[in-house]
């Protein structure tokens, strides 16, 4: 398939079920809310090495947050409920609780819950205060700049999807990055998804396994342009650089919407200024139950 000069492979992205949760982090200013969120979502690019995948879904205005201050919504994804609970508690405890003027609320609602303030309240050493109003439960934990206000629980979803992806291939690093940036910007407007890698972009896509026994994932040599002659390459002669966008979403529909938006952005940019080819990563369709076919997502 060719759209605006961009070759789009007739393939699909293979994605996996994940557990996910959401948080709203607020502070006295958007800068400080972002600071807390960026800190807690650091080192959360891949469940393989980080325990969870996390990112800022969007910024929130004063009208959208429980305490009428600016904030951000953060999403976290993990492979099991217990790991998600562990990551949530550790990251909020070390990165949000410690951030100046912060507060933390549920960013996802549902029947199933994860502990938030319920797990962190013990930091109050007996001075923590429980408050219930408006059908919600909060913990007030005294800290040195006042109080850390934290909702007792947040929602858990088992319908989340991790690993939606696009492989963006360009004739130069600069053009490939331009296409990837356009895709990230487009996905930024889609609700309920995150892109966990730095700036939303991964340059070190991996394959399963390695020649080394202890290494579970290694470089995706078929997509490394400098190995084109040395390995069984997946690259065309005009491709000099490949970048990957990985998308995690609270629902399959959210991931599909994000992939659709990003494909549209890449195609709109065109082959001259951006990508010459777009593909997606899969394992033959045998491992992940969610298949996002690029053909169906094209604008």
């Amino acid at each position: 398939m060719i759209a605006n000069g961009v070759r789009v492979d007739d393939t699909f992205a293979e994605a996996f079920p994940m557990r996910a949760t959401g948080l709203i982090v607020t502070a006295d200013s958007l800068a400080w809310a972002r600071q807390a969120a960026v800190t807690m979502t650091g080192f959360a690019t891949s469940v393989i090495g980080c325990g969870c995948e996390a990112g800022i879904e969007r910024e929130l205005t004063e009208a959208e947050t429980p305490d009428e201050r600016p904030g951000v919504r953060v999403l976290l994804f993990a492979v099991s409920t217990s790991e998600l609970q562990k990551q949530l508690q550790g990251r909020v405890g070390q990165c949000v609780l410690t951030s100046a003027g912060s507060a933390c609320y549920a960013g996802l609602h549902g029947a199933e819950k994860l502990k938030l303030g319920d797990a962190l309240r013990y930091f109050g050493d007996g001075w923590q205060i429980s408050k219930r109003f408006g059908g919600k439960h909060y913990w007030r934990i005294p800290v040195m700049d006042g109080e850390f206000l934290c909702e007792a629980t947040t929602g858990l979803t088992k319908e989340a999807v991790g690993g939606g992806n696009l492989l963006i291939m360009g004739a130069s690093r600069r053009a490939t990055l331009a296409a990837a940036e356009a895709a990230v910007k487009a996905i930024g407007r889609i609700a309920d998804v995150i892109m966990p890698f730095p700036g939303g972009i991964a340059r070190s896509g991996s394959k399963v396994g390695s020649k080394y026994k202890s290494v579970r994932a290694s470089t995706n040599d078929a997509y490394c342009p400098t190995l084109r002659g040395a390995v069984r390459t997946a690259l065309d002669p005009d491709v000099a650089s490949v970048l990957e966008i990985v998308i995690d979403g609270l629902t399959p529909d959210a991931v599909a919407a994000a992939m659709r938006a990003s494909l549209a952005a890449i195609v709109k940019l065109g082959a001259k200024r951006g990508a010459v080819r777009v593909s997606a990563g899969n394992y033959g369709g045998k491992l992940g139950p969610h298949h996002f076919h690029l053909r169906e997502l094209l604008p």
Binding site: P66, D67, E68, A103, W127, I129, S130, K131, R132, F133, G134, Y138, R140, G146, E147, L149
Partner: protein, 269 residues
């Protein structure tokens, strides 16, 4: 659907117990069955049919017209639906209420919302003593839900309150929030002597301060408490005046140090 209307014919000769006239107990009954419900509190039998003019409608909404202060126990153990009362009523309105909405256009007597667990009570007039409080022998008062009083309350509003929200747009008399176990009490106008007397936990907000504060409360300074700001958003659905109070910096007094000391009273700076 039209409400079920009970119009009181005149002031009754005895106090009446209306605890049986709640939506979940009336649902499915015919007019004749409702008319036979006994309300007396003395040996003189008095039924709904004797005392009220009944206009049938859906039991989910009950309207009591021409009410007087001899009607006790309205909304007792109510679990859902709505009761609207036109006029003032007697004691224990909304006692042990678990859900639904009770609206009273006039005043209420003592022990309104006593032991309440959920739902909403709105009182357009004054509330008597021990709003939300326990009856003698009970260990806790209000356990949940929201009570809004548009005018003043009597003594001991929120006595032994364990959970929930009491909003008073007028003033409160002596011992507001005494023996509180937890929960939140907000008073817009001045409170009487010794608010929070022997409170263990919980929050009392006195927007106009109190006539006399107990020396067993300690000054923690003036603060902008974020939890109150979050609460303001919830309170604004019931009272914009009280919500604005919660958004201001307030002086925090911790106490009552005579007991556990983990409660708090907020007063103007």
């Amino acid at each position: 659907m039209r409400p079920l209307v009970l119009a009181l014919r005149g002031v009754p000769d005895q106090r009446l117990d209306l605890s049986g006239l709640v939506p979940q107990l009336i649902a499915g009954k015919t007019a004749a069955e409702i008319a036979r419900i006994e309300l007396q509190t003395t040996r003189v039998r008095a039924t709904v049919g004797d005392l009220f003019q009944l206009r049938m409608g859906g039991a989910e909404r009950i309207r009591i017209e021409n009410a007087c202060d001899r009607l006790d126990g309205i909304g007792h153990r109510m679990t859902g639906g709505e009761i609207v009362v036109e006029g003032s009523i007697g004691s224990q309105a909304g006692r042990l209420m678990a859900g639904g909405r009770l609206t009273i256009a006039g005043d209420v007597g003592p022990w309104a919302a006593s032991g309440m667990r959920g739902g909403t009570i709105e009182i357009a007039g004054r509330a008597g003593d021990r709003l939300g409080g326990p009856l003698p022998g009970e260990t806790a008062g209000m356990r949940g839900g929201v009570v809004i009083v548009r005018k003043d309350t009597g003594d001991r509003a929120g006595d032994r309150m364990r959970r929930g929200l009491i909003l008073i747009e007028g003033g409160a008399r002596r011992y507001a929030g005494c023996r509180m176990i937890a929960g939140t009490l907000v008073v817009r106008c001045a409170a009487g002597e010794l608010p929070g007397y022997l409170m263990r936990r919980g929050s009392i907000v006195l927007a106009d301060g109190a006539a006399e504060l107990s020396p067993t409360f300690v000054d923690c300074g003036v603060h902008e408490v974020l939890a109150l700001r979050v609460m303001a958003r919830c309170v604004s659905a019931y009272s914009a005046r009280l919500a604005s109070v919660l958004r201001r910096p307030l002086r925090r007094l911790a106490g009552d140090m005579g007991v556990l000391g983990k409660g708090e009273i907020f007063t103007p700076p």
